[in-house]
């Protein structure tokens, strides 16, 4: 599997990271080095092996469905780059 510039552009878009056009070929080549390394996994016989979901044999615990926290608007917004009138502010999304 070889990654071309077009695929690199698509992946950058999916990851929501702006990559300048001029940087795409180098990025594609780095992807290829990493994916080439990963290709080794195709040598392994994985027939009948389930994908690991939990490294320790335990069920994920479930908490009770109750309110444990709240009324912390100021704390929640404290680190926001732009907060107005008790909300996170972002560029206009809907015209």
């Amino acid at each position: 599997m070889s990654i071309d510039t077009e695929t690199a552009r698509r992946v950058a878009k999916l990851a929501r990271i702006k990559v300048e056009e001029a940087a795409l070929p180098a990025l594609a080549s780095e992807f290829n080095a990493i994916l080439g390394f990963i290709e080794q996994l195709n040598e392994v016989d994985i027939d009948g092996v389930e994908p690991m979901t939990s490294v320790t044999p335990m069920r994920l615990k479930r908490r009770s469905d109750v309110v444990t926290d709240g009324n912390q608007q100021a704390a929640v917004l404290k680190n926001a780059p732009d907060a107005r009138e008790g909300f996170f502010a972002v560029p206009k999304v809907v015209e």
């Binding site: 990851a15 929501r16 080794q40 615990k61 680190n79």
Partner: protein, 495 residues
């Protein structure tokens, strides 16, 4: 008493309890050491006021008697841990200015035990790296240098600041985190001890997430006893982390008897890599002989899927990272890019993440995005998770066959020079974790112990891998190895 910052945790604990020294004096010695060590770039946010207040509280508690082991002990905290009101940036520009409104469970437990925080420690950005060269704060520097050579060396990564600070006696111990080797490789590069506990032993709550199924916090200290003491304070069940284990935390220090007679140590043949330096071979053989002399039975074992651990890791870890790092979008915390006229929300995300994430982080997020994308999920991600199951089974079978612990080298080389790997392809850097990454994939505890010096006078470490939840036994093997190796070298002060 002079040079209080050079004490071990155990020695300081005993002196504090006898009131031979005060927490205030000990803390002041460490603050001075930190102030004089800017050349190491280990501490990136210093908190002397917090430290002095905590030390004063510790002295009150010590005077009352019955204080916990860590009461009054000055520590450094890796920048990956959220510490309330104190910058917690994961060494990333994208979290510039972020001051958490909450405290991570591990750091809270340390403070509840009376520990003193000197500041936040340098690391690779989002813990992605093996040399501390991806940090937004610049490189942390290893206090060790090669003989007759002033070249700056890496302290390893990602917990490079933690390693450098402990080795240089700036603090008595430090927290680290380990996703693929990020405690054990830096510990080995600077000649200190560090353990990655069993997955689930320490709460991950409040630690900036990299790869959630692999991340574990652990202590980095001057010797094995200190690791045992500090681990006990860090560990324990936390309802806020659904993967934290509901198991009692034993007194790990009490397990350090030095008696390993009748125990079985496995030597995995697959770790004898092609082109392994003769010095590493010898270190490993010497360590094996030490454990044998101490009464352990040595057996050759096979972990056949070892070779596939790194490739599996470089699917699973980026996949989880791409998901975890999706939260850095310029909306709720940290950096937001300046927008041009007409930019919408997508441009805000894209510019923010391009400016905020460094190169290695961007690369891993994109690799993770790719292996999880439609059409590749089964071929890459699910295949890697199947291989991971086989890697874990290799260890399960070895333990079922009666092996109590496994001895391997900790790293394929001694510390390398900062900048030396700049032109290498990313995979070359990834190979640093070849001996450690299997342990994260299998969720096992692993400890790095310094046992020797290379020809240039740099420390080298061995790794012991233990059964799940048996950190006490594992640390006892490490303690036995430490006693036999008698590693006491310290870096000559140049900073």
């Amino acid at each position: 008493m002079s040079d209080l910052n050079k004490l071990t945790i155990a020695a300081a604990r005993d002196a504090l309890r006898k009131r031979e020294i005060t927490a205030a004096e000990l803390t002041e010695a460490c603050i001075n050491a930190v102030e004089g060590a800017d050349a190491l770039n280990a501490f990136v946010h210093k908190t002397p006021e917090i430290a002095r207040a905590q030390a004063a509280a510790a002295d009150t508690r010590l005077a009352a008697g019955g204080a916990p082991d860590l009461c009054g002990i000055p520590l450094g905290i890796k920048d990956l841990f959220c510490t309330k009101g104190v910058p917690s940036q994961a060494a990333s520009r994208i979290l510039e200015g972020f001051r958490p409104e909450y405290e991570s469970t591990v750091s809270q437990q340390l403070f509840d035990a009376g520990a003193v925080m000197l500041g936040k420690l340098n690391m690779d950005e989002f813990a992605m790296g093996s040399s501390n060269e991806t940090s937004c704060y610049g490189n942390a520097v290893n206090p060790w240098r090669r003989a007759n050579d002033d070249a700056a060396l890496t302290p390893g990564g990602s917990s490079g600041g933690s390693a450098s600070a402990v080795a240089a006696d700036l603090c008595l111990g430090a927290t680290g985190t380990d996703t693929g080797g990020s405690i054990r490789q830096p510990a080995a590069f600077v000649g200190i001890t560090g353990i990655k506990p069993t997955y689930g032993r320490c709460s991950r709550w409040g630690i900036v997430a990299f790869a959630s199924s692999l991340d574990q916090a652990g202590p980095m200290t001057k010797d094995v006893r200190d690791t045992a003491i500090m681990l006990r304070a860090m560990a324990g069940h936390d309802p806020k982390d659904s993967t934290s284990a509901e198991l009692a935390v034993p007194d790990f220090e009490a397990a350090l008897t030095g008696d390993i007679r009748g125990k079985t140590i496995g030597i995995p043949k697959e770790y004898r890599m092609d082109g392994m330096p003769a010095e590493i071979e010898k270190l490993w053989a010497d360590g094996t002989a030490m454990l044998k002399d101490a009464g352990a039975k040595i057996v050759d074992i096979s972990l056949p899927h070892t070779k596939y651990a790194l490739p599996a890791y470089y699917v699973i870890a980026p996949a989880e990272a791409s998901s975890n790092l999706a939260r850095y979008d310029g909306v709720r915390f940290g950096h937001r890019a300046k927008l041009a006229q007409g930019d919408g929300i997508t441009e805000m995300y894209e510019k923010t993440r391009a400016e905020g994430f460094g190169h290695e982080v961007q690369r891993r997020v994109m690799v993770g995005t790719y292996v999880l994308s439609a059409g590749f999920y089964d071929a890459y991600y699910n295949r890697a998770r199947r291989v991971r199951a086989l890697i874990k089974r290799d260890f399960d079978l070895a333990f079922e066959a009666g092996v109590d612990a496994i001895l391997t080298p900790a790293t394929p080389s001694a510390a390398f020079g900062l900048g030396e790997m700049a032109d290498a392809d990313p995979v070359q850097m990834y190979l640093n974790d070849v001996f450690t990454v299997t342990v994260n994939l299998a969720g096992l505890p692993g400890v790095a112990v310094p046992t020797g010096l290379d020809a240039k006078g740099l420390p080298l470490g061995l790794q012991l891998i233990g059964r799940p939840w048996e950190e006490g036994d594992l640390l006892n093997f490490a303690y036995t190895l430490e006693q036999a190796a008698g590693f006491v070298s310290k870096p000559a002060k140049w900073w």
